[in-house]
């Protein structure tokens, strides 16, 4: 039988990979993909706890998280499309309107 800590460890590895991706990648869409990976890692933790403790609330939380991830992906990609139209680049460094120019 697989103990709980294995699932939690796998989930933290996936989360770490996602977080590292957000930091080192420069393409906006790839950063978005890494964010979705982090959300998946969290979902795995929730489902693992739900399975090991027999509580359905964890799975319902995952249901809601998936829905929110879908909504966020739709709106985020729409924003990326709008930004692409003006700057013609998918590099995050080129979207510096809100900050100081380095």
């Amino acid at each position: 039988m697989v103990p709980l800590s294995w699932y939690l460890l796998l989930s933290s590895v996936l989360f770490t990979i996602g977080a590292t991706g957000v930091i080192i990648k420069r393409n906006t869409i790839t950063i978005f993909i890494c964010i979705e990976l982090m959300l998946n890692a969290v979902n795995l933790t929730l489902v693992a706890f739900s399975g090991f403790f027999g509580d359905v609330g964890g799975q319902l939380f995952v249901f809601i998280v998936m829905t929110v991830a879908a909504a966020e992906a739709a709106v985020g990609l729409a924003i990326i499309i709008s930004i692409f139209r003006t700057r013609n680049s998918l590099n995050v460094d080129d979207a510096y309107g809100l900050g100081d120019r380095d």
Binding site: I29, F52, D55, L60, A70, L77, D94
Partner: protein, 167 residues
Amino acid sequence: MEKALFIILAVAAVAAALNILVQRNPLYSAVSLIGTLAAVSALYIMLRAQFIAAMQIIVYAGAIMVLFVFVIMLLNAPGQQHAVDKHQWLRYLAAPFAAAMLGEALYIFKSVPAIQMPASPAAAAIGSTESIGVSLFTTYLLPFEVTSVLILMAVVGAIVLARREGD
């Protein structure tokens, strides 16, 4: 036997996730994410969450990732562009950062008690569609309704944001 299956799926998930980082072309990253989602879905089935596993494929791998692939194709996103890296130092930060996060996780999870999955059939049935449906419409009705409003907002927002000027 279950441990062997878990290890295979875990290795597949981690390998696909690492491939997301390694690839320069965002389309390959998206396809790798689909692979990760499939592996995680199989893990959900091992955790007796059949409905969530099916939902993961239908919603995440079948709809959200299709949206990603469409946008990548629409923008004709080229591979990662070389030179402009103003923040090169971030790459050198990535490895210690990842090591720190993993170290923390290992430290915490060492002290998680080694419990096993409950074997009673009642506990095994919580992942069934019936149980999720019942809880969704009784105990968790408010989050469900709020989520539907959220999706409506997202649809309206996405249409407004992605529209060209003068439409």
